[in-house]
Symmetry: C2
Subunit: 319 residues, 2 copies
């Protein structure tokens, strides 16, 4: 199975990860690239199983992501949601008419006994997406956000509450019982593997849920290929999303060394934005190698250039 012996495995969560994912997908043959995708964001809503990170990556790689909103499908309409609101339904989570077709298809296939990995592969095939999109686990893991006002399911925190509550910690419900996706374990154990990339996704709620699945952190640590992370910070701030706000609330310095310390012994190299170059030595002092490049991805060229830089950096770290 070529899908389980890729040259590059990328761990990813939301929008930032999908941007680098697109760069990697444009640079590598489909069979040489596999994604390990966070499913801690997944939730059940209106009777549907919704997988925001899988969908963001799927739509991005298919050229179907909305370029303005940063989430959901392009050419979207909202007749369903408007009518749902008129009927008194829960409409705080924006489900477009086109997007909904994917959620209904997936939910139906899961109810028929197919795994999330199988369903995702079928959807990717339909949308013409070549690289393997591998959920971290086929078992449900649900990120819970601890706040002063109590614990919130991730999407309630992220969408309904717009990340307003101050975060005190996280819990990955179900992670202790979740079985790592066998295709992920196979990919990480492959002797063909040349690089493992931690995309510039939120370390706390995009990458950590993946690492919380029993066996996955160990598989990353024992993999022959180097593990290279792209720092999600640019000038001490997050490009998008609550990463910087969470670091502030958790009393973690908003710095590259803090990101490196967070990933710990796992990390062989860290890619810093040019604006954070001054922090390179402090990162190296913690162990990882460092490369500095532009990590802000505004254009397709930016995505391709960062993908090139990450792959070249990983090459220098292989024995």
């Amino acid at each position: 199975m070529s899908a389980t012996a890729p040259r590059v495995v990328a761990l990813t969560g939301g929008v930032g990860g999908a941007k680098l994912g697109l760069g990697l997908a444009r640079r590598l043959p489909a069979e040489d690239l596999a994604f390990v995708v966070n499913t801690g964001d997944d939730f059940e809503h209106l009777g549907l199983t919704i997988c925001p990170d899988l969908d963001t990556l799927l739509y991005t790689l298919a050229g179907e992501a909305d370029p303005e909103r940063g989430w959901g499908r392009r050419d979207e309409s909202w007749r369903f949601l408007e009518t749902l609101a008129a009927l008194g339904g829960e409409h705080w989570f924006s489900l477009g008419d086109r997007d909904l077709a994917l959620h209904v298809t997936r939910t139906q296939a899961l109810a028929a006994g197919r795994t999330l990995t199988e369903v995702t592969a079928a959807l990717a095939s339909r949308l013409g997406v070549g690289p393997a999109l591998l959920p971290m686990s086929d078992d449900p893991v649900r990120t819970m956000v601890a706040t002063a006002g109590g614990e919130l399911a991730f999407q309630h925190y992220f969408v309904r509450e717009r990340c307003a509550p101050a975060v005190t910690g996280f819990r990955f419900d179900g992670a202790d019982r979740a079985r790592a996706n066998p295709a992920v374990l196979a990919a990480l154990a492959s002797p063909r593997l040349e690089a493992i990339v931690l995309c510039p996704s939120n370390p706390f709620v995009s990458i950590d849920p993946i690492l919380a699945v029993p066996g996955l952190r160990a598989a990353l640590e024992t993999a022959a290929a180097p593990v290279v992370a792209v720092s999600p910070l640019v000038g001490g701030l997050a490009v998008k999303g609550p990463t910087a706000k969470m670091m502030e609330e958790l009393a973690v310095p908003r710095t590259a060394p803090a990101v490196a310390a967070h990933y710990g012994a796992l990390l062989d190299g860290l890619v810093l934005d040019t604006r954070d170059e001054a922090e390179a030595e402090a990162v190296r002092a913690l162990g990882p190698a460092v490369t500095v490049t532009r990590t802000l991805m505004e254009s397709l060229e930016d995505r391709l250039a960062l993908a090139d830089a990450v792959l070249a950096f990983a090459d220098t770290l292989r024995e």
Copy 2:
């Protein structure tokens, strides 16, 4: 509860029944009218519970029915369905983006443990519909159509196969175990009741499933009010739907006496279309009283006039 002591109870199925239902709803105060609605057409599709007859009546009474198609909501769009088709999903049953909001809302409420009666009342209230819409049962009953090529679930016969297979019989799966809706039994037992109307719906697949629910035929027979049916035939043909085709295939004459014989002892009166006036005596010979009027409902005025004629006819049949 005024909803369970109406003056008029109307049994109804699809489009023809909803047309007369609208006439009745415009003529009677909301608390004086209740509908007993066929749920044999209901089915599970794409993980949703879809109730076509309840929805046709609901949309019609709310002024939300599409006037051209004869089913579904007005001002509808089809982005969901188009995308579902592109993803390889089952798209033979046309679900509009707005219509879908109702199915999702209902399915979610049922999954949360509410009864179909409760869910329907909530939806009717949201849509500003006053008369009670009572499912014949809160338990699932599913009409199965026997054909030479085997048994088909109703919507597969009706929509997917466009009524093409020749019908040899019907089975109402689950009817033997279904409990009659208590609100229906209360309405039929009420001393206030003045008329029971069998709308001009398909006798085989709209009215018979209602009569197949244990206790409902008996409740109609013992009710103090007369039972008046409107023949679904006009000049020996059905206005819409497969009624005439089914009679042909079942070797039942396409005549008013055959309709009267089908309902049997239940019936106190039958309303015939003027085009079928010649059959009046043959119907009377079977027992029921007869009135003749225009039953074709093209305009709102037609609906109102038929409602008036039915109510006046029932008045003449009360002791």
